[in-house]
Symmetry: C2
Subunit: 287 residues, 2 copies
């Protein structure tokens, strides 16, 4: 069985790594803060003190961190995996980061015969725990086939979107649709309420027709219940929409509804709500 190194043990990464241990994979971790690694070490993971040290000892490296610069540091930094990973190592970056930087990093790793897949996910903490994430993969098809059994432990739908960066583009598309659909549901429920009509009844009726979506179902319910426990935090959605709009700018297209969604997320953060689920956009109109 391939040995796996896992970097990025946050809300998503921790249950994903635990699922890999439970599936029988030898797992090693590196964490900037020792406390973060604790639950994995208890579950039997080995511990290393830098990405470089980790990379020398595993076949596959999974990264799941927040920022594009974090991934750059882990892969190419002074203590990066590029300095020690064996030829044939596969890096699976499951973070949501820049598609273009992904392409550049994949090219640099390729010079050392290190393969890379971008494999961002959708499905949230629940999906990470249940191993039912949707995984959008960019990179070479033969590398994906080698990594597929590992990805299958974490996700139930694995789609090869295209070459390096394509997974990140798909994730950007995902975040755009989620944000804009949240706004659509927000506007509809506000119109119902302001018109003296029960928004819960409207949601119920609309779930039966063309307006139905997972956002109307799940985030619409959160709006009705005024329960904005994440789910997916506004701060992270804001970060992802920034990536999506950056990508749009790079390829010279205009996405006015995405820009509007970004403005709403901006306002929400300025009001101090970055830790709430991003469906809290529904709160904005109440001022």
């Amino acid at each position: 069985m391939q040995s796996i190194g896992f970097i990025g043990l946050g809300i998503m990464g921790k249950p994903m790594a635990l699922n890999l241990i439970n599936a029988g994979y030898p797992l090693a971790v590196y964490a900037r803060r020792a406390a973060t690694a604790e639950p994995l070490l208890h579950a039997g993971a080995a511990n290393y003190h830098s990405p470089q040290e980790l990379a020398a000892n595993v076949d596959i490296i999974i990264t799941n961190v927040q920022a594009t610069t974090d991934v750059e540091e882990i892969l190419l930094g002074p203590q990066g995996i590029i300095h020690s990973a064996k030829p044939g190592t596969i890096v699976i970056d499951m973070s949501t980061i820049s598609a273009i930087t992904t392409q550049k990093m994949a090219a640099k790793l390729a010079q050392k015969k290190i393969a890379m897949l971008d494999a961002p996910v959708s499905g949230g903490e629940q999906g990470a725990i249940a191993g039912t994430l949707s995984i959008m993969v960019g990179g070479k098809a033969d590398i994906l086939e080698k990594a597929r059994p590992i990805l299958a432990v974490m996700g139930k739908q694995i789609v090869h979107i295209g070459d390096h960066g394509a997974g990140q583009v798909a994730k950007a598309c995902n975040q755009i649709i989620v944000a804009e659909t949240i706004i659509a549901v927000d506007e509809a429920l506000r119109l119902a309420k302001a018109s003296g009509v029960d928004p819960a009844k409207v949601r119920e009726a609309l779930l039966g027709g063309f307006a139905s979506s997972r956002i109307l179902e799940i985030h619409g319910k959160r709006m009705l219940d005024q329960d904005y426990k994440p789910g997916f935090k506004t701060g992270l959605h804001h970060k992802d929409m920034h990536l999506a709009l950056e990508q749009a700018q790079q390829v010279k297209i205009n996405l006015p509804a995405a820009q509007h969604a970004m403005k709403c997320l901006d306002q929400l953060i300025k009001k101090g709500h970055s830790e709430l689920d991003s469906s809290a956009i529904h709160l904005l109109a109440e001022d």
Copy 2:
């Protein structure tokens, strides 16, 4: 069995009326253009020459026309049903029209002991033919119960939203969400394409996650296939969004994403595409 008068035998009305005949209801029609009534007369419907004449001879009157003013003319005009309908008659207006005008008309009919339900639908021509429409009902609960067996012939989901006009408000909410979700899917697929990523793969991957919706499934497919046969015509969606924004104005709320969607529908009509499915919004960016 109650006898039914049906006015408005368009793309939706015709199959709905035929389903009622097939369910065994005695059906009569009135049509401004004689040719429109032909298929129903062949199926056994009786024919009358004005709404007033029709109303004198049936227990239930169903209207399914385009404009608010059409409904006003049929119900309250010089040859309107108000002049002849027996006390206890139920008018079921399945058109998509103004919620506020609906409330006013219901009040006027009530003075003559004529009951009214607003019962606009979602589900399109296919749903009308299959009898699987989603029906959003405004009006009194006891009147809905009397009409329910008839509505059940035409729709599979019948939700009592609230009092008079509430069905129309729910329909406005439906059209807002549909329009804004079309734009969300449009922007995402444009970002994929401009980034050199296969939009079909992106759609496939996104259907597994939080971005999934009936619009991504059905209208997303239309965009990929560049097949804009309606479906739901841009011209009608434009009309419905106008109603929704009018309602928003009446209740003094601001719906910026709906306004943006309206602008896109406007542009599409100005380009001569009012007969295409409203997912043809995807064409706009190609100029």
